[in-house]
Every structure is written in structure tokens, then in C-alpha cells.
């Protein structure tokens, strides 16, 4: 059975700290791994990773995929209160002419001022 596991489940840090969120997966026919940020409403897309070892960066956020060890990490440096959210990891696999996404349960990050 396909599964995506995120850790930790929740995290509380202070502004300026650096955090690392983990996502491990066991999914057949892996195509890509995606990270989303969810505040009080809809998840918003952060990164999509398909190749091992290539870091994606966007400002203070970065992510990398290890397809051999089947995991990805999301790093946030110099955290701000606006980074408080649930971070979701999902793995895409092809099915019926499209892609199916298997989501982890998310990591809830709270950044204190």
C-alpha cells in the first residue's frame, strides 16, 4: 500500500530559527514529490521535485529529494511568524491518464515571535 509519512507531526520554534521538515514515502511508480503550505484555507504549492539531489530554492525555503533513500526534506531558514502553517508533502503517481497524489498527514509549524 502506498504511503507518505511526515515528521515531526508538529513543531514550535522561535523567529530566526531554522527548521527541517521530513517526508518519507513508499509509493509504486513514483513520478514526483510536491510540497504545499496550508494556512487557514487551501494548500498552496511550494515545490515539485522529480530528480534526486537537486535542490529547489525559493527565498528562505529549500527542498531536496533523495530517490534512493525515498525521502525529501523541506528547510526553512530564519523563520518568521508568517511561516506558521501546516506543511504537506505529496507524492504523484500516474493513473488513468492523469496523476494521483498521495498525501502525508502534514507537519504543523508554529513560529513564535
Amino acid at each position: 500500500e502506498d504511503k507518505v509519512v511526515q515528521s515531526p507531526l508538529s513543531l514550535v520554534v522561535h523567529e530566526g530559527d531554522t527548521v527541517t521538515l521530513n517526508c518519507s514515502y513508499e509509493v509504486t511508480n513514483f513520478r514526483s514529490l510536491l510540497w504545499y503550505k496550508q494556512e487557514k484555507k487551501a494548500p498552496t504549492f511550494l515545490f515539485m521535485l522529480t530528480s534526486s539531489g537537486i535542490e529547489k530554492k525559493s527565498g528562505r525555503l529549500s527542498s531536496i529529494l533523495d530517490k534512493k533513500e525515498l525521502f525529501s526534506i523541506l528547510n526553512i531558514t530564519a523563520t518568521q511568524t508568517g511561516d506558521s502553517a501546516v506543511y504537506l508533502c505529496a507524492v504523484a503517481k500516474p493513473t488513468s491518464g492523469t496523476y494521483k497524489y498521495i498525501f502525508g498527514t502534514g507537519t504543523r509549524l508554529k513560529v513564535l515571535a
Binding site: R31, A42, A92, K100
Partner: protein, 114 residues
């Protein structure tokens, strides 16, 4: 910018009622998805559609049906609502780009079934 809208942000219904959740996207996306999100369980796929009038069951289709009569609109139907269907429902759409695709989510509908 892609826009995915859902008909209601909050909905309260009674057990046994028929419930319609509507999702509309404005970017001519082929693929549309319905998820429910529950604490500790993450997002789980209910149904998806890759073309008009086409639908596929996701991981938890029991108690739900869907309709896709037009490309931009994907409806989720709870034939007879039950309390265990109280949840946050998220709609998403995507357009294949090469050999990968990114999903765009609507704001969600929080459904309470009494």
C-alpha cells in the same frame, strides 16, 4: 493566476440530507479532484476526473458520487449525509505539463453533518 472556487466555505446539514458541493476552475484544466481532509489522516482522495463525463474512484469513494458535465465544473454529491462525513472538503484542478503536473486547490468547504 489559476482560480479554483468552491460554492460554500461552511455548510451545516442534517443526517440523511442530500448534499451538493460545487467546484469551478477558470483555467481550462482537464483534471479535477475531490479530497477530504481530517485531523491525523491528511488529505484523502475521494474521486477524480480527467475529462468531461469521466470519473474515477479515489481511495475513499463510499458514500459519495460526482458529476462532471462541463469541463470547468466538478460536483461532489453526498447522497445521504452521515455524521462521519463531517470534514473539510477540498477541490483541486490541474493541467498536465509535459510529464508532470501541479494541483491548484480551492479554499475548501467545511461541512458539519448533525
Amino acid at each position: 493566476d489559476v482560480k479554483v472556487t468552491q460554492s460554500s466555505r461552511y455548510l451545516v446539514k442534517r443526517t440523511g440530507e442530500k448534499v451538493f458541493l460545487e467546484c469551478v476552475q477558470d483555467m481550462d484544466h482537464e483534471n479535477m479532484f475531490w479530497y477530504r481532509q481530517d485531523p491525523g489522516l491528511g488529505l484523502r482522495l475521494i474521486y477524480f476526473s480527467y475529462d468531461v463525463k469521466m470519473k474515477e474512484k479515489g481511495d475513499i469513494p463510499e458514500g459519495y458520487s460526482v458529476s462532471r458535465e462541463k469541463k470547468e465544473r466538478f460536483s461532489l454529491i453526498l447522497e445521504s449525509a452521515s455524521t462521519n462525513q463531517t470534514s473539510m472538503y477540498l477541490c483541486a484542478s490541474s493541467l498536465p505539463q509535459g510529464d508532470w503536473e501541479t494541483q491548484y486547490f480551492g479554499p475548501g468547504t467545511r461541512l458539519l453533518v448533525l
